[in-house]
């Protein structure tokens, strides 16, 4: 993961400091990835702590993937997809919403801070919203601190 962050190093110091939080973002191909793209071409600045994974639909995201991310020590997981009603596959994000509802409760029951997960609907026209989401979510995960499941940093 360090490597990925380094590769995206841009003008300012990209690749968060080793002690800063790392966030995994699942972005849907049709809306949120395009929203992220719009944020990029609009030169909107947001924290560099996020690694994106583009998926065809948030409905394809198995809860196992989110659990796996936490297992590997990620500090926060963001899922962003089309607004309800705008899904490219009609109702794929319905499944995301329902699974997320149960997953967040299971994580909370197991003692993983719900501040570490977020579900957002970001359309392809919402570059500014994407910036806001990443900025506020990074702040929120920073407030939660490094994941208790993370291997000790600096290895």
């Amino acid at each position: 993961m360090d490597e990925t962050l380094e590769k995206t190093e841009g003008g300012e110091k990209r690749g968060s400091a080793p002690e800063d939080v790392k966030i995994l973002a699942f972005l849907c191909n049709w809306c949120s990835y395009a929203g992220a793209d719009l944020a990029g071409v609009s030169r909107l600045q947001y924290p560099p702590n996020v690694v994106d994974i583009r998926v065809m639909c948030t409905g394809t995201i198995s809860p196992y993937y989110v659990l796996k991310a936490f297992q590997e020590g990620i500090d926060g997981v963001l899922i962003a997809g089309c607004h309800i009603g705008d899904c490219h596959y009609d109702k794929g994000n319905y499944m995301t919403a329902k699974r997320f509802r149960v997953l967040k409760d299971i994580l909370a029951a197991a003692g993983i801070d719900p501040r570490r997960i977020r579900l957002e609907w970001v359309s392809a026209a919402e570059g500014a919203k994407f910036q806001d989401v990443i900025t506020s979510f990074t702040e929120q995960v920073r407030a939660a601190g490094p994941s208790p499941l993370a291997p000790k940093r600096g290895k």
Partner: protein, 274 residues
């Protein structure tokens, strides 16, 4: 109760209502299911009468493809609710089952913390009914503080030896391919599993299926409070969607259907916390 059950099974075989019947007997201290096809089978005379449980629904799933016609099956109420749930996943055909309800004794119902110990009136019931027991409370160690909660579960999960007993005894775990066999998810199978993912994967899958029979917890050699974990997962599904597995045969799991925006468990605006 024993005589009533014998009578019910004999009658089912004699009248031809059922092609075969399942009889539980005891051998070398183990509960052994037998398939009998004749009302004169001596196994019917040595029917087990006691408090021990067996994953009857799994046995029915295994036997049904091997026989023609109906199977007479003695079931506890938890077994019956499993069969209701398995029908929703097309794993058993309820029309091929002739259920004989065997009510649990009050002692067993209380020990299990069972909310539904008595079979419904629709099926033949042998023996006296028990009152619903109060559910046992969550273990005290599962505290308000998330860090303490995580510590409690990690301590429990760290005892797991990956015997797969919880999965293998569970009739609801019928998938041919299992995420818990995937080394990418839970680690190579020569080692103890990665935690907490191993147990949380199962918790997620149990959230809309588990009927709270508690066999997983009773078989776990590491005494992990699995039933409590799955209860928390079930509570989420009940809270969000008002759905409880095993109760209504006509109602499918909300996680298995697309539904409408009103069914999204309050997530139609996304989820932010903190």
């Amino acid at each position: 109760m024993k005589e009533e059950l014998q009578e019910a099974l004999r009658e089912a075989l004699e009248s031809g209502k059922a092609r075969a019947a399942v009889v539980f007997t005891e051998r070398d201290g183990e509960l052994v299911p037998r398939l009998v096809t004749s009302p004169d089978d001596p196994a019917l005379d040595s029917i087990y009468e006691g408090d021990r449980r067996y994953p009857t629904a799994s046995f029915a799933m295994m036997v049904l493809p091997l026989i023609d016609g109906k199977l007479a099956l003695p079931v506890r109420e938890c077994d019956r609710r499993m069969l209701v749930e398995l029908d929703k996943y097309n794993q058993v055909d309820p029309d091929r089952l002739l259920l004989v309800g065997v009510p649990c004794s009050q002692e067993v119902a209380d020990a299990c913390g069972c909310a539904h110990p008595s079979p419904p009136e629709e099926i033949t019931v042998v023996g006296p009914l028990a009152e619903p027991a109060e559910a046992s409370p969550l273990p005290e160690a599962v505290a308000e503080d998330p860090a303490e909660r995580l510590a409690f579960w990690m301590d429990s999960f760290s005892k797991c030896i990956r015997c797969m007993g919880c999965r293998n005894i569970c009739p609801m775990c019928f998938c041919e391919e299992c995420a818990l066999d995937d080394p990418d998810l839970v680690g190579a199978d020569s080692k103890p599993p990665e935690i907490p993912i191993f147990h949380l994967i199962r918790a997620f899958d149990m959230a809309d299926r588990c009927i709270d029979c508690g066999m997983c917890e009773s078989i776990c050699p590491a005494e992990i409070p699995l039933r409590q974990l799955y209860r928390l997962a079930r509570a989420s599904v009940k809270d969000a969607f008002g759905y409880e597995p095993g109760l209504d045969a006509g109602e499918l799991s909300p996680l298995g259907e697309l539904g409408t925006p009103a069914d999204l468990g309050g997530m139609d605006e996304g989820f932010r916390s903190g």
